[in-house]
C-alpha cells in the first residue's frame, strides 16, 4: 500500500476512534443548552439548566461532601502510604513480596467486592457495638457509623495502595550514595531522610496525592455501599440518572468535562514550561 494511502487510512481510523470516544460527551454538552427537556430534538438555546444546577442544593451538598472526603482521605492516604513505602523498602525480600501482593488486592479486586466487603465489615461492627452497648447498658461504643466515618475509611483503604505503588519506584531509583553522602556530611539518619530523601520523593508524593483525590471524587461503587444516607457527587449523579428527566445532568457533565480539560491543559502547559526552562539552563 502506498505511503500516502496508508497515512490517510491511519488518520481516518484514529478520527473514527476518537469520535467514538468523544461524540457522546459532545452530544451531552450540546443538549445541555437545549430549551426543552428532550434529549433528541434541539428546540432552542438556553442557559437555564446551568442556572438551576447552581441552585440545586442536592448537587451542591454532594459536591461539598465529595471534595471534603477527597481532601481528607487523600491527605491521610498520602502520609500513611509514604511511611509504608519507606518502611516496606527496608524489609526483606519475602516480606516485601507478601505485602506488595496483598496491597494489590484493593486495586485488582472488582470494586463491587471491595464495597460489599467493607459494608459487611461495618454491619458486623454495628452488630458488635449493639451487643456491647446492650451489655454495658449504655451507648458507649459508637453504633451508627455509616456515613462520614465509613466513607472516609473506605476511601483511604482504596487510596493507600496507589500511594505505595507510586512512591516505591521512586524510592528504589534513589541513589543510596546520596543518603550516605548526607550522613558523611554530618546528618543523622532522620535528618538525612528529611533533607535529602524527601525532596527526591516529593514529585512522586505529590502525584500520588493527586491520584488519590481523583479516584476519591470519582468513586461510585465503593461509596455506594458505604455511604449510609450521605450522598457523594457520583451518588447524587446516579440518583439523577435514575430519574432521568432533567438536562441538569447534561449541564453537570459539561462542566466536569471543561474542568478536567482545563486541568489537563494547565498541567501540560506547566510541564512544557518546566521542560523549556531546563533546556535553557543547560544552554
Amino acid at each position: 500500500m502506498k505511503q500516502k494511502h496508508w497515512r490517510a487510512l491511519q488518520q481516518a481510523y484514529m478520527v473514527l476512534i476518537f469520535s467514538f470516544l468523544y461524540v457522546p460527551i459532545v452530544v451531552m454538552a450540546v443538549f445541555s443548552f437545549n430549551e426543552s427537556k428532550s434529549r433528541s430534538v434541539f428546540t432552542g438555546f438556553t442557559l437555564n439548566w446551568y442556572k438551576s444546577l447552581f441552585t440545586n442544593s442536592m448537587i451542591l451538598d454532594a459536591l461539598a461532601l465529595s471534595v471534603a472526603i477527597a481532601l481528607i482521605s487523600a491527605l491521610i492516604s498520602t502520609v500513611v502510604g509514604t511511611m509504608a513505602a519507606v518502611g516496606i523498602s527496608g524489609m526483606g525480600r519475602k516480606s516485601r513480596l507478601l505485602i506488595n501482593n496483598l496491597s494489590y488486592l484493593p486495586i485488582v479486586n472488582p470494586e463491587i467486592i471491595t464495597g460489599v466487603s467493607l459494608m459487611l465489615l461495618f454491619v458486623a461492627y454495628r452488630g458488635f457495638a449493639a451487643w456491647a452497648n446492650a451489655h454495658m447498658g449504655a451507648e458507649l461504643v459508637p453504633q451508627n457509623i455509616f456515613g462520614l466515618p465509613t466513607l472516609l475509611i473506605a476511601h483511604i483503604s482504596f487510596s493507600v495502595p496507589y500511594v505505595i505503588f507510586n512512591v516505591s519506584p521512586k524510592l528504589r531509583q534513589l541513589d543510596v550514595r546520596m543518603y550516605e553522602a548526607a550522613l558523611d556530611l554530618g546528618c543523622n539518619p532522620t535528618q538525612a531522610f528529611f533533607k535529602v530523601v524527601m525532596p527526591e520523593l516529593m514529585p512522586a508524593i505529590l502525584s500520588a496525592f493527586l491520584i488519590c483525590i481523583t479516584y476519591s471524587i470519582d468513586d461510585f461503587i465503593i461509596s455506594y455501599f458505604t455511604c449510609g444516607n450521605l450522598q457523594t457527587l457520583p451518588i447524587a449523579i446516579y440518583s439523577m440518572t435514575r430519574k432521568k428527566v432533567s438536562p441538569e445532568i447534561n449541564a453537570l457533565s459539561t462542566i466536569i468535562f471543561l474542568v478536567i480539560l482545563a486541568i489537563i491543559l494547565f498541567t501540560n502547559h506547566m510541564d512544557s514550561r518546566k521542560y523549556r526552562r531546563d533546556q535553557q539552563r543547560r544552554g
Partner: protein, 270 residues
C-alpha cells in the same frame, strides 16, 4: 539505607483491618446461613443463576475482544507519533477516563433510545427505528465505550518499547503487513495485551451500572445480582457473599492466566 520497618506499621494494621478482615467476613458469610451455621447451600443456590453468570462472562469476553481489536491499531499508531504529539494524544485518550463513569454511560442512554439521536438520524435516511437500548448489544457497547481507554493505554505503553527499526527489519526481510502483525507486533506487545485484558475484563464482568442503565431488567449481570442481595430487594447477605466469592474466583483465574504473560508489574499503569 537502613529504613525503619516500623514506619509501615500503621499501614499494616489498616490493611489487616480494612482489606483483609472484610474479605474474610465475606468468606464467612458465604459459607454460613443466617443463623451462623456452616453450609454450602449458598454456593449451591448460585447454580440457579448460571445463566446470569454465563451472560456476564460472555458479554465481558466479547467486550474485551472488541476493545482489543479496536485498541491495537490505536496503540500502535500512537506509539509511532512524534514524542510531543504523543503526550497530547495520550491526554486525549485519558480525558474520557476521567469523566464520570455514570455520566458517560448515561450519555449512551440518550443516544440509543427509541427516540434518541441515532434513531432520528437513521430515520432521516429511511431506516426504521431500531430497538437498541435494553439489549445485550447495548450493554456490550457500554462496556466497550467505558473501558476502551483502559485497553489503549497499556497497549500503547508496550508498543512504545517496540523500536521502529524492528518493524523495518521485518519489512526488509520480506514480511508483509500480516506477518509483521503476527510475528513481530503481537508477540512483542504481549505484556500490554495481558494488562489490557485484565483492566477491561475484570470491571466488565463485575459491573452493575452498565447493565442497569443500558440493559434494562432483562440483562442482569453478576454485579446486579450481588447488589440486589445487599442493597436491593432480595436482601440475602449470605447468598450475596457467596456470589462475591465466586466472582473473586473468576477474577483470580483471569488474572493468573494473564499474569503468566505479563512480565512487568502494574506500577507503570498506576
Amino acid at each position: 539505607m537502613v529504613q525503619k520497618k516500623s514506619l509501615a506499621a500503621p499501614y499494616l494494621v489498616w490493611m489487616a483491618a480494612f482489606i483483609i478482615a472484610p474479605l474474610i467476613i465475606v468468606v464467612y458469610f458465604a459459607l454460613t446461613d443466617s443463623a451462623g451455621n456452616f453450609t454450602l447451600d449458598n454456593l449451591m443456590t448460585i447454580g440457579r443463576y448460571s445463566t446470569v453468570f454465563a451472560r456476564s462472562l460472555i458479554l465481558a469476553a466479547v467486550a474485551t475482544v472488541i476493545c482489543l481489536v479496536l485498541a491495537f491499531p490505536v496503540g500502535y499508531f500512537l506509539s509511532r507519533l512524534r514524542t510531543s504529539k504523543q503526550h497530547i494524544m495520550q491526554m486525549l485518550v485519558m480525558l474520557p477516563m476521567w469523566m464520570n463513569f455514570l455520566l458517560r454511560t448515561y450519555a449512551w442512554m440518550s443516544l440509543l433510545e427509541k427516540n434518541g439521536i441515532i434513531n432520528r438520524i437513521l430515520g432521516l435516511v429511511g431506516l426504521g427505528p431500531f430497538e437498541m437500548i435494553n439489549t445485550s448489544g447495548a450493554v456490550v457497547l457500554g462496556m466497550v465505550y467505558n473501558y476502551l481507554p483502559y485497553m489503549i493505554l497499556p497497549l500503547y505503553t508496550a508498543m512504545t518499547k517496540i523500536d521502529q527499526s524492528v518493524v523495518e527489519a521485518a519489512q526488509d526481510l520480506g514480511a508483509g503487513m500480516g506477518k509483521i502483525l503476527t510475528r513481530v507486533l503481537i508477540p512483542l506487545s504481549v505484556p500490554g495485551i495481558a494488562t489490557g485484558i485484565t483492566m477491561v475484563f475484570v470491571p466488565a464482568v463485575s459491573t452493575f451500572i452498565i447493565s442497569r442503565m443500558l440493559g434494562g431488567g432483562s440483562n442482569l449481570l453478576i454485579g446486579d445480582l450481588i447488589e440486589l442481595q445487599f442493597l436491593g430487594n432480595s436482601y440475602n447477605y449470605n447468598l450475596g457473599s457467596a456470589m462475591s466469592l465466586v466472582l473473586m474466583v473468576i477474577v483470580l483465574l483471569c488474572m493468573s492466566f494473564t499474569s503468566s504473560f505479563d512480565d512487568e508489574d502494574m506500577e507503570g499503569v498506576v
